[in-house]
């Protein structure tokens, strides 16, 4: 503690330089935190789904191809399956073309069994089963459009040539995708003239260890049929969508690292300059009895404070910006966008490393320099 004054006074020796160094580290860690949050969050979401007992069954040719709804009974008869919910994509818009979000029609009879982890109340499930025009809406979409339970809304068809008028009966919490809307498939079927096809099936297994067996059974059943199936766990299914962003995520992580490394080198240069200017003072301190280790500790302490200050500033900025961005942009399914705690830890660790490593070599060299040679520089 008694050296604190010394460290602080040295930090404020050149206020502009200290400020600029802190600011540059803050900017780099802001970029790092913001960029790395996307892939980390995506991984967290996938990991969260990894324990799910749900399976997605879609057309082997791709998720845009449909399947006969008659598959439902055959899938339901598969051993270890406890629920099957067919799902059809509607693709309606709320008011404007920009007001798009995933709106899907599902069979109501087993929704409570299928999505019991999405925080939907029992009353909402009952209303959904009872009312043909009922819909369940994700929290993000509710907030985005200022909706409330009991409100009637109309979705304009884009793929289908008709609109649907729906009554909101319940809200899905943050365990559900942030922008979903479910309404009843019988309503869609009736309006569409009963085409008898669905986009996919959601299947619920009794136990996680039975999932591989169920996948094999379903895909085997429909092999060589007009619509062969591809079954996968929910995590794998979500991962398929995330796959499309993989290049972006990798690029984001690489860019984040490059920015941090670049600023680390700039900080190292600044630290080297700052320490070189003080070599004679350091020699004086050593001549009056300061040990090399103490000097090294003081210099690294200064640099650590600079790095950590920049890290805290950068992290805080990224946290606020992501929060603001998440509130304003649930349309693309990122209403739960936030800075994962692990990214905070990584960013602060990077800040400490920038601080320590940037000063390590010049500080070590200055702390070990020959006192007589350094004093000669003064003269």
């Amino acid at each position: 503690m008694k050296f604190t004054m010394l460290v602080l006074k040295n930090l404020l020796r050149s206020k502009r330089r200290t400020f600029l160094t802190v600011f540059s580290i803050a900017v780099s860690l802001f970029i790092f935190s913001a960029l790395v949050s996307f892939p980390t969050l995506a991984r967290e979401i996938l990991a969260d789904r990894a324990s799910s007992l749900r399976l997605a069954v879609h057309n082997k040719a791709g998720v845009t191809y449909s399947m006969p709804e008659a598959y439902k009974q055959r899938i339901a008869a598969t051993p270890h399956v406890i629920a099957v919910v067919p799902e059809s994509w509607f693709g309606g818009i709320y008011h404007e073309v920009n007001d798009q979000f995933p709106n899907l029609a599902v069979d109501p009879d087993q929704v409570d069994l299928m999505w019991d982890d999405w925080g939907i109340s029992k009353a909402a499930f009952e209303d959904f089963k009872r009312l043909r025009t009922a819909c369940l809406v994700s929290d993000g979409t509710m907030k985005r459009f200022g909706l409330h339970v009991g409100q009637q809304i109309q979705l304009r068809g884009t793929f289908y040539p008709f609109n649907v008028t729906l009554n909101i009966v319940g809200v899905m919490n943050d365990k559900a995708p942030p922008n979903f809307l479910f309404f009843r498939r019988d309503y869609l079927e009736e309006a569409a003239g009963r085409p008898g096809f669905v986009s996919m099936f959601w299947v619920r297994a009794d136990k996680s260890e039975n999932i591989p067996q169920i996948i094999a059974s379903i895909d085997e059943q429909f092999a060589n049929s007009m619509a062969e199936t591809r079954s996968e766990s929910e995590a794998a299914f979500m991962g398929t969508f995330a796959q499309g962003y993989r290049a972006f995520f990798e690029l984001a992580e690489i860019l984040g690292l490059i920015v941090v490394l670049t600023i680390g080198l700039v900080a190292a240069n600044t630290a080297a300059m700052s320490i070189r200017e003080r070599r004679s003072e350091i020699a004086i301190m050593r001549s009056i009895g300061f040990r090399s280790g103490t000097i090294l500790g003081l210099l690294l302490g200064e640099s650590l404070i600079i790095g950590l200050s920049g890290g805290i500033l950068g992290c805080a900025s990224a946290y606020v910006i992501l929060k603001v961005f998440a509130v304003g942009s649930p349309a693309i399914g990122i209403s739960s966008l936030r800075m994962p705690p692990i990214v905070v830890v990584e960013a602060l660790a990077a800040a400490c490393l920038i601080g320590l490593l940037s000063a390590w070599f010049p500080a070590r060299s200055a702390a070990r320099q020959n006192i007589v040679d350094a004093l000669r520089l003064v003269a």
């Binding site: 008694k2 050296f3 004054m5 010394l6 006074k9 040295n10 404020l12 020796r13 004679s280 003072e281 004086i284 301190m285 050593r286 001549s287 009056i288 009895g289 300061f290 040990r291 090399s292 280790g293 103490t294 006192i371 007589v372 004093l375 003064v378 003269a379």
Partner: protein, 243 residues
């Protein structure tokens, strides 16, 4: 009665390597400085004065020979121990004051005390006393840039004595000062020697210094060329010194 020696230099040689050349800065020098003396080391440039001072202060190592200060042999000490020893026993004064520019006079003087176990209040007391001794009690909160050269050197002397060291070593303490300030600094060092019985070793070119010191050691080309009694009448000439 046996006289105690503050400094004993025994057959000390210091050789520097400068690229492919060897420079013999000190060549088999032997001398003894009794306790509580004010002595000067004089000689032309390159005679080895500062090298000798550095050896006494423990910031340089002899190539051969033995250096003992305050009865402790420092020649064989490890760097870590030597740093602690310097903090306890040596007060250093430099030609260019070498105060830390971002610290006030008070904080500069407090610097060596940060290495002790003294509490904040005790450190304050010591610093105030040291600054009073050098006559700068009213300049405690001034930064070096706000002080004159003479005042800066006084602060440096306060920093050198604040830990109550065994020996004060001063390298050209008047070299960067005008005549008046130089006289003031020499008077101050004399006072420290007379009143507080500090052993003071000063390297100087300044011929006025001879009037203040007890003994003058003359070096020439790394060899002790002579020992003279200073013009100060207060003390007898150094005893026991030998070349």
């Amino acid at each position: 009665m046996d006289e105690k020696y503050a400094i004993e230099i025994d057959h000390v040689t210091r050789v520097y390597k400068r690229d492919e050349f060897e420079v013999r800065a000190l060549d088999d020098v032997t001398l003894k400085v009794p306790e509580a003396r004010f002595v000067a080391i004089m000689g032309p440039s390159g005679s080895g004065k500062t090298t000798m001072l550095n050896l006494i202060a423990g910031i340089d190592h002899a190539t051969s020979g033995r250096v003992a200060v305050g009865g402790e042999e420092i020649t064989s000490m490890r760097e870590r121990d030597l740093a602690a020893w310097r903090a306890r026993h040596i007060g250093l004064v430099f030609q260019f004051y070498n105060l830390i520019p971002v610290l006030t006079a008070f904080e500069n003087v407090e610097l060596p005390l940060l290495l002790t176990h003294l509490r904040k209040a005790e450190r304050r007391q010591h610093v105030e006393t040291a600054l009073k001794v050098v006559g700068l009690a009213d300049r405690m909160d001034h930064y070096p840039r706000q002080l004159s050269g003479g005042q800066e050197q006084r602060v440096a002397i306060a920093r050198a004595i604040v830990t109550d060291p065994t020996i004060v070593v001063a390298d050209e303490p008047t070299g960067d000062l005008d005549a008046k300030s130089a006289e003031e600094i020499l008077n101050l060092l004399t006072e420290l020697n007379r009143q507080f019985h500090k052993t003071i070793v000063m390297v100087t070119h300044d011929p006025r210094a001879e009037r203040y010191v007890d003994t003058v050691y003359r070096l020439d080309k790394g060899i002790l060329a002579g020992i003279e009694r200073g013009k100060s009448a207060a003390q007898p000439a150094a005893a026991g010194a030998s070349a």
